[in-house]
Symmetry: C2
Subunit: 237 residues, 2 copies
């Protein structure tokens, strides 16, 4: 989705990482995504316990392990650029843990919607940022966001459950809105605390800033993609 970003000025790898502010932003970004995948694993492993059948449980655990496989990729890149992967993740554990505490699913279907909608939102957001990265880091970020097989399975199960119980549709639509709200709250918190990461979007001496209109368009794209996912599930956004 890099082509959909406004005025992205990607870094070239050679030299880019010597720019201290840029390197700091990359370390933050890789650390945030890596911890996000770890907490996605943990959440899915918990949700697997709610699965109504052993077959559903295996599907969820399979997703969890595919998410986790991405961590190795991000960790290797952090080591490659001389960063400590665990120090890189540390600034993001509080926000991500809070997000998960505030959005603990009450049943199997809330868990499915969260996996699909939450990971979709995170992936859209990181893909937007990826447009500002050197090609090698960008490729790693994009690979780490590959769909872990959520879509088909989740859409199938949620649609069937709503067809069988219409009240569930109303509850899950509210749940989707709550997930979006919590995600924005935590994202703002991170943006306020991590200057380097925000500066990547806000531009720098050699890069034009993303103006307010461009940031607005970015959020419009993310919101639209969220609405698309909700509609695929058969839910009002």
């Amino acid at each position: 989705m890099t082509e959909s970003s406004d005025s992205a000025t990607p870094h070239t790898e050679s030299g880019a990482l010597e720019d201290r502010a840029y390197r700091e932003a990359v370390v933050d970004l890789l650390g945030a995504i890596a911890y996000g995948e770890i907490s996605a694993f943990e959440r899915l492993a918990e949700d697997a316990k709610l699965a109504p059948s052993l077959e559903d449980k295996l599907a969820i655990v399979g997703m969890a392990c595919r998410e986790f496989a991405h961590v190795e990729l991000l960790r290797a890149r952090l080591v490659e650029i001389g960063a400590d992967p665990f120090a890189a993740m540390a600034p993001f554990t509080a926000a991500l843990d809070l997000f998960h505490q505030h959005t603990a699913p009450a049943d199997f279907y809330e868990g499915l919607v969260k996996a699909y909608v939450g990971d979709g939102l995170a992936a859209d957001f990181y893909r937007e940022i990826a447009a500002y990265l050197d090609p090698r880091t960008r490729d790693i970020v994009i690979s780490s966001l590959a769909d872990a097989g959520h879509s088909e399975f989740v859409v199938d199960r949620v649609q069937a459950a709503i067809a069988a119980d219409h009240k569930l549709g109303g509850r899950l639509a509210l749940w989707g809105r709550r997930l979006m709200g919590e995600a924005l709250t935590q994202a703002q918190r991170v943006a306020a605390e991590r200057d380097a990461l925000s500066a990547l979007l806000a531009g720098g001496v050699d890069r034009p800033a993303l103006d307010l209109a461009a940031i607005g368009r970015m959020f419009a794209r993310i919101t639209e993609q969220h609405a698309d996912r909700m509609s695929k599930l058969g839910l009002d956004a």
Copy 2:
């Protein structure tokens, strides 16, 4: 380890699965191992929460996902021989769930010892049985028992913890004995309930039975390997 089994008369694949009792035993065996790997995954994913650092947590989750990857192999073989994988696992869920309920680790180190000692015991036992299988099923069983990277990590962490706290060594030695006792209790329960599986060891019309002396030697080998593992951890068996 097939060479260490007494009087094993391996089946050839062609025809072997047409023997109804043999096929039933194979379905049981693959189902038991598959559910064992699923519950190993679940236990490790739980234990990961007890990890003292994010690095240890990642090591445990990595093991959990490697265990889980074996499930696909066993499931595919069950489907290949025309069995329903979930029906094949069903008879073993109670015994394995009970084993895990009775041996919930109180801390990170009990979890590590359980992963290493418990999976080692299960692998030794299934490898002994594998000697009685047709080559293709045997290969799948042996691959599914490959060490999920437990050994080095667990030995390293447990040895360091015992060196720092000698009382821990005494507690973990008792814990290892309890794991062995619970494993034997559940194995006997399964043997009593699953005639086809026991018949595989007890022989059949075209196969000599494993006599009592041979069964005794098999248990002696398993006990010896258990003692080896305990000693590698620095614990009395």
